[in-house]
Amino acid sequence: MKKILIVDDSPMVLNIIETALSLEDYDVVRASNADEALKKIEESKFDFGIFDVNMPGKTGIELVPLILNHPNGKSMKIVILTTESSAEIRKKGEDAGASAWMVKPFKNAEMVELLKQLGE
């Protein structure tokens, strides 16, 4: 079972992603901000991450290198999730080490397909 860390300050968004991915047999772990995510990565290894950009405290983009530089997060594929899809922010995400980008509101089939491609 693939393990995925989802980080978003919105409980509703966390519920949606958790529901969608648990129905696809992913092991989902949730965090509501970057600091909480950093604690989760201390505890176990993950295959994927889905990080929201705009959160109180560190942004999802700032969180990417912190996770990828952690021994438990080195091989993680991280998807950035946001309402903003400007090229500038995408570039920042890519520079930070993110593997893909997903714009809110995301479609379930697209998210599942994206994770499948990243896992191949």
Binding site: D9, N15, S22, P56
Partner: protein
């Protein structure tokens, strides 16, 4: 004011004669026999007409004349010449735009006629020039106005529209709004299973619960928009005479009720003493709407402060107004500014405007969650004939005095 004529001549007799003729027609005359002085007088631009003695056609005089005519192409010039000068010379003079020539010997009336005709011409040309200059100025002003309009119509409006759409997008599609519902529905459509026998779609209970949560959120959005619309349209707005001691008691109760929200980030709200001298005074108010105002302002102060911060509520008054200040620590914005700047102080009352792209869903209890809160607050205070302003001020309440506070100052007229 009489016209001023300038004479250049090295012939003293001629100079005296011209002086006498000019005097007859009540014009003033300045004469010189020095070419440098002539340049200086021309530079002063005080003379409307130059009378140039060209009786002596020496090479030097020819050069001087040619230089003057080319350097001062708009100077009105009458040449005094010898009768013997031929057509070739006159042709050359025409090329230099000499206005007229008066040949020697100079007869008084002929000279008067030439001078007054030239001065009249000069006045007309000056008026035309002024008119052209004014016309040009008007034209340039119009261009500026149209450029400004153009800028408003295109770039500024585009920028405002872009900002507004961006804010609406965040308000409705970030967090628990329409965006969540769309994502949930996408799960429903991709995971629902059709039962051929019963002709029904089967939905996983997790998806059903998600839909229920989304439905509740969308109801809140709908309620929020309905309430906003009613307040902005001034519908169902009733006021009463509200004793200020009752207002203070209600605010105290509200602050106590906000403890759980302040507790989300371990914050506390400190209320200042109410001015005793106002105990018997009242305001005209809608208590229900005032509750919305302070609920929104205090929630904002909590949201935009950090862990462990203290929010202060202070009271002040003068002869006519009660003032309530809510202060919370100011933090750096994404553009490097601190707190509320002059640039965004007026924007924050605009619908959907947000100082930050972060929608903190920990404060989901807010009545106006979709970037409408301060628009509604502004309207309610306006209906109370009060005023509201946001500004950044030096911190005088906290230990670290080198920091700034964001202050919202609300005023109501006292009865």
């Amino acid at each position: 004011m009489s016209e001023r004529i300038l004479l250049y001549s090295q012939n003293k007799e001629l100079t005296e004669q011209v002086k006498s003729y000019i005097k007859d027609i009540m014009y003033s005359l300045e004469s010189t026999d020095n070419i440098d002085k002539l340049y200086s007088l021309l530079n002063s631009q005080e003379s409307s007409l130059l009378v140039y003695d060209f009786l002596e056609t020496t090479k030097e005089n020819q050069n001087n004349l040619a230089n003057i005519l080319s350097e001062y192409p708009f100077q009105l010039v009458i040449l005094l010449i010898n009768r013997e000068e031929g057509d070739e010379f006159l042709q050359m003079m025409e090329n230099y735009h000499v206005y007229d020539i008066v040949s020697y010997p100079i007869y008084k009336f002929k000279f008067h006629f030439a001078i007054t005709k030239a001065v009249t011409y000069g006045k007309v040309m000056s008026k035309i020039s002024d008119f052209k200059s004014n016309e040009k100025q008007v034209f340039e002003s119009m261009i500026k106005v149209f450029d400004w309009r153009k800028e408003l119509d295109t770039r500024k409006v585009e920028s405002l529209a872009n900002e507004l759409i961006h804010q609406i997008n965040i308000s409705f599609f970030h967090g628990s709004g329409l965006g969540s519902l769309i994502s949930t529905l996408s799960i429903l459509f991709s995971k629902a299973k059709f039962d051929e026998e019963k002709k029904v779609y089967l939905v996983h209970e997790k998806i059903y619960h998600l839909l229920k949560d989304n439905y509740d959120e969308i109801l809140k959005l709908s309620d929020s928009l309905t309430k906003t619309q009613a307040i902005l349209a001034e519908k169902d707005y009733y006021t009463e005479k509200l004793p200020l001691k009752d207002f203070y008691s209600a605010l105290t109760a509200m602050v106590k009720g906000m403890k759980p929200i302040a507790g989300i980030k371990n914050q506390k709200i400190v209320m200042g003493d109410f001015p005793r001298e106002l105990a018997s005074k009242s305001i005209i108010a809608s208590p229900e709407n005032l509750k919305l105002v302070f609920d929104e302002l205090l929630t904002n102060a909590i949201k935009y402060s950090e862990d462990g911060d203290t929010i202060y509520i202070l009271f002040s008054h003068d002869k006519t107004d009660l003032g309530i200040r809510i202060l919370n620590p100011a933090y750096k914005n994404s553009d490097g500014t601190v707190g509320i700047t002059e640039g965004n102080a007026h924007k924050i009352f605009e619908p959907f405007f947000r100082l930050t792209n972060v929608v903190d869903d920990r404060f989901m209890q807010e009545t106006f969650r979709f970037g409408l809160g301060l628009t509604v607050v502004n309207k309610i205070i306006d209906l109370h004939k009060g005023s509201i302003s946001f500004y950044t001020t030096d911190n005088s309440m906290r230990k670290d005095t080198n920091t700034k506070d964001v202050c919202v100052w609300v005023r109501f007229p006292i009865l």
